[in-house]
Amino acid sequence: MNVGLPHFLTVSALLFCLGLFAVMSRRNTVGILMGIELMLNAANINFVAFSRFVEHGINGQMMAAFVIVLAAAEAAVALAIVLAMYRNFGTVHADAVNQLKR
């Protein structure tokens, strides 16, 4: 076996679909967020793999760095929203939060 681009793409596709499944099936909002992190990581693996095997440059790695930064910002805001939700509704289950105002 010679490890090439398709192997990395397969790992990344598997990781993406696991994240998709978590986003669609989890009730806990933090679990949904973990699924989003898995999907972002899958996209990042693709960026770095294409950068190494196809582009032969640094642009894919730059994109991966920006994705990591945006994931950090997203996680901070999303977890603040989860905590505010817990404070106002007493739960973190996504299907229990169905009011705009209480």
Partner: protein
């Protein structure tokens, strides 16, 4: 040969805990297995020759995001027997959709003839730094603004509000939980 073995181990380290992240009923276990997945992804970056990205992955994801996630998990108590799991109606559509997406992705991956040759690995930090200050100057500044906005937004969202906490209220009147 040894490189293939390392790749397989890293891929297993990425994928197997990811299954636990997705399927574990305990959200704390899911968070801790997310740590192994993130380390596995960092190892894959290192395998691909992206040393800076691998180190950033460990520092930002494991050192920052994962700690935030675990703090949030531990600050939000989920009532155990709030409502029982609703059987399969939640899992079947998600599983079918995820399997379909994976089928399409895998079909594409195997159908396309990737004529890529491997690049020789070299240190990337100097090149990334040069790129950040030249080609990527505008995204670099823009992303710093995004981080500032996210910081302010999170601080405002998390601020103590004047209204009372309904959960704490029911805790004190309802006895032990």
């Amino acid at each position: 040969m040894i490189g293939d073995l390392v790749f397989v181990l890293l891929a297993l380290l990425t994928i197997v805990p990811a299954f636990w992240v997705v399927f574990s009923p305990n959200i704390v276990h899911a968070g801790f297995s997310l740590m192994f997945t993130l380390f596995g992804v960092a190892g894959l970056y290192a395998y691909l020759g992206a040393d800076f990205i691998a180190v950033t992955q460990v520092m930002v994801y494991v050192g920052g995001i994962l700690v935030l996630v675990l703090f949030t998990v531990m600050m939000t108590r989920v009532p155990k027997s709030d409502k029982p799991r609703r059987g399969l109606d939640r899992y079947v559509p998600a599983a079918v959709f995820a399997a379909l997406v994976f089928a399409v992705l895998y079909k594409t991956i195997t159908a396309v003839q990737w004529n890529g040759s491997e690049m020789v690995a070299e240190a990337t930090i100097a090149e990334i730094g040069t790129n950040l200050m030249t080609n990527y100057l505008f995204p670099f500044e823009y992303v710093s603004l995004v981080l500032l906005a996210a910081m302010i937004g999170a601080a405002i969202l998390i601020r103590e509000s004047k209204t009372r906490d309904p959960h704490e209220d029911s805790d004190q009147t309802g006895g032990s939980s």
